[in-house]
Symmetry: C2
Subunit: 412 residues, 2 copies
């Protein structure tokens, strides 16, 4: 690939696209060259939030197991009411009737419940019932299985487990469930200029914000992250880190060094040591991304600048993790429909991440105002990190007018 030569020929206006593949082609190449079968492990339901269920689950019990009172009251024998209202004033507790509150089971001798508000319990243990009280077999009684029936599906394999799912599993009779083991993703931040969060910043230095951000994003998606310390643009350090992480992780993200800089040993090393599936994708920021298969594992060389790494996690890593966890529904990314306050433009030949400020119209409509990436009104290259929301166009989709509705990704 020779981006530069083409670029020069094409002049400054049109970015060079030769050698770049589409996101769809990235997935085709990646999943043709690599597949991953998640391992299964058992976990307590209480610890299963956000994990991916590996089994279809069905309720083990009818509930109520036998019956339950539908209200607070007394359980009675309906046969006693066959000839109309009986004389209940000499009824004996636990013989002719028994207390039964909402959800209570009671002895099989009784088969109906009278609501407590219609009952006065007398000093001798007998009762008075309110006028008009009627009793039939089964009245105010929930039969077996009326809350949940044995065999009801309470969980689907491939689903990310929510709090409500956890309740369904417990009601299904499960104390533990089988889940997929978290895929292990290593993240190696490279760059001689990088310093860790909270350092005193000197000229020529940049903060490593990607380690913290990517770690949080990947953990939220369901992965376990191995964070490697910052390493310099040094062939030996990169080689050592890559070897170690490829041996320990299922997928490795090598961050920065994606292009042709004098110190970009990463690309060089990857070409020499594995099968580079592609170098360059029609997605900006983060265009010079590559994926190389080394020891049957994908090494993703992801763009260094923060917004590029963010976008790479959004469009690529979500699908990589869906694949690794055999998700039946994709990783959840919060979105909302918003109305553009201004025209928004994107290059139709690239899938470009754009940034928006959100606000509310008087009638509550969500409004999205584009934040210019460059030129007048631009807020610096990191403006994307401070944005309320993002949007990326599909290839061929160029612009939207003020008043158009777009589905933005909620960033914050």
């Amino acid at each position: 690939m020779n981006i530069s030569e083409e670029h020069r020929k094409a002049g400054k206006g049109m970015p060079d696209l030769s050698g770049l593949i589409t996101k769809e082609e990235v997935f085709e190449k990646l999943f043709a060259a690599w597949s991953f079968k998640p391992q299964i492990e058992e976990t307590a339901v209480a610890d299963a939030l956000g994990r991916t269920l590996a089994d279809d689950l069905f309720a083990k019990y009818d509930q109520p197991v036998v019956r339950a009172s539908r209200m607070d009251g007394i359980a009675v024998k309906s046969a006693a009411f066959a000839g109309g209202m009986p004389d209940t004033s000499l009824w004996k507790p636990n013989v002719d009737y028994i207390r039964a509150d909402t959800g209570d089971d009671f002895d099989d001798a009784f088969d109906a419940v009278i609501q407590i508000e219609n009952v006065t319990i007398l000093e001798n243990g007998g009762v008075t019932l309110a006028e008009g009280t009627t009793v039939e077999k089964g009245s105010n009684v929930s039969p077996a299985g009326s809350n949940i029936r044995k065999g009801t599906q309470v969980g689907r394999a491939g689903k990310v487990i929510s709090p409500l799912d956890m309740a369904a599993f417990v009601l299904g009779g499960y104390g533990t469930v089988k889940v997929y083991k978290k895929p292990v993703i290593a993240f190696i931040p490279t760059g001689s200029e990088l310093v860790p969060a909270g350092s005193i910043l000197e000229r020529g230095q940049n903060f490593d914000s990607n380690s913290i951000m990517v770690n949080a994003m990947l953990e939220r998606m369901g992965a376990e992250v191995l964070l490697y310390p910052i390493i310099k643009d040094d062939r030996e350090q990169i080689e050592k880190a890559l070897k170690e992480m490829i041996s320990k992780a299922d997928v490795v993200i090598l961050n920065a060094g994606t292009s042709k800089g004098g110190e970009d040993f990463c690309v060089q090393y990857l070409r020499e040591h594995g099968n580079m599936l592609f170098h360059g994708v029609k997605a900006v920021p983060g265009r010079p991304m590559s994926i190389t298969i080394i020891d049957e594992k994908p090494v993703i060389n992801m763009s260094g600048p923060a917004v590029g790494a963010y976008y790479g996690c959004l469009w690529l890593m979500t699908k990589v993790i869906d694949h690794m966890l055999a998700h039946t529904e994709p990783v959840y990314i919060p979105t909302a429909e918003a109305t553009l306050t201004e025209k928004y433009g994107a290059p139709p030949f690239l899938s470009a991440l754009s940034s928006f400020e959100l606000s509310r119209a008087e009638d509550g409509t969500l409004l999205a105002t584009p934040i210019p990436g460059r030129g007048p009104g631009s807020r610096g290259m990191s403006a994307g990190l401070m944005a309320d929301a993002h949007y990326y166009n599909q290839l061929g989709e160029a612009s939207h007018e003020a008043g158009d509705k777009i589905k933005v990704i909620l960033a914050k």
Copy 2:
């Protein structure tokens, strides 16, 4: 309050609403009787995901601090190009030019960058530049602050911290940030019939699914949860648990025993020991809820059945936690706009949680099909736990026709 008498008079059709207050009135009463000021603590940015930021944060440094090359290339002195293209064949490295890759700062002697693809470095150290190469002071150089300007706001107090926020804080120069301490919410599951998750279920028993579900929901909202073990419907046990939890937590949820059963000591105890703000709310399931202030802390007596507890967390606990964490934006609850496939009805005098199955139309539209709560097609009282989505009507809002769009709460 005498629900039963009214109910009897009103007949079976119309549920009794006397003594019930609206959700809005619940918040008015609660926040008039109780207020909470969150404590502040410091945490590493790396550990701040999902926490609530307590300070406005502004970037500490211009970035780049001085300058950065905008591309891989060589840094040169623009003055050398004042009279047109100079003879560069005898240029000396580190004197007339210096390597500068994307993001690199370089010595103040240089002030412009030439893209590496337009440069051939000769064996003697001199260079050849591509035809047409032009150089001006500052070309291909990002000036100080062009990535992020000192003083740019990188965080807002009251915001729940996202991965992107974490990147913004790091770029702002922060290694640690001030966050609100997690409010401590105790959850006490009561019920002689309750057994823990995974037990062998016998007749008369129910699984305690609320502890696990409510714990997960509240933790996701940003609280720390103290889970009390299951206790019996026993006045002494309830009293002991309440005393202990009121002393340790900021808010106590006493689960079940909300109504008038013979064993519902909870309501009795609360009335006797604190200021019960209300008992009964126009929200179903979970109508018999009460809140009592004891030792200046709210004790929320929440409905026992699982769907009632879920709904109580959704409408009440989200706002309680927003209040306790001084949120400037509410706890995030995933929602989506869906088109009804059938008429959906709700009682206009109660805010009722309804359950839906979701599917996709051929054109991708999200479709919501109501799951009947009772009667034909009903799937048992726990169907709400297995639903894909929920919706609750506002008071006065009764029904929607097939084809109407509603904003459903994504349950799973």
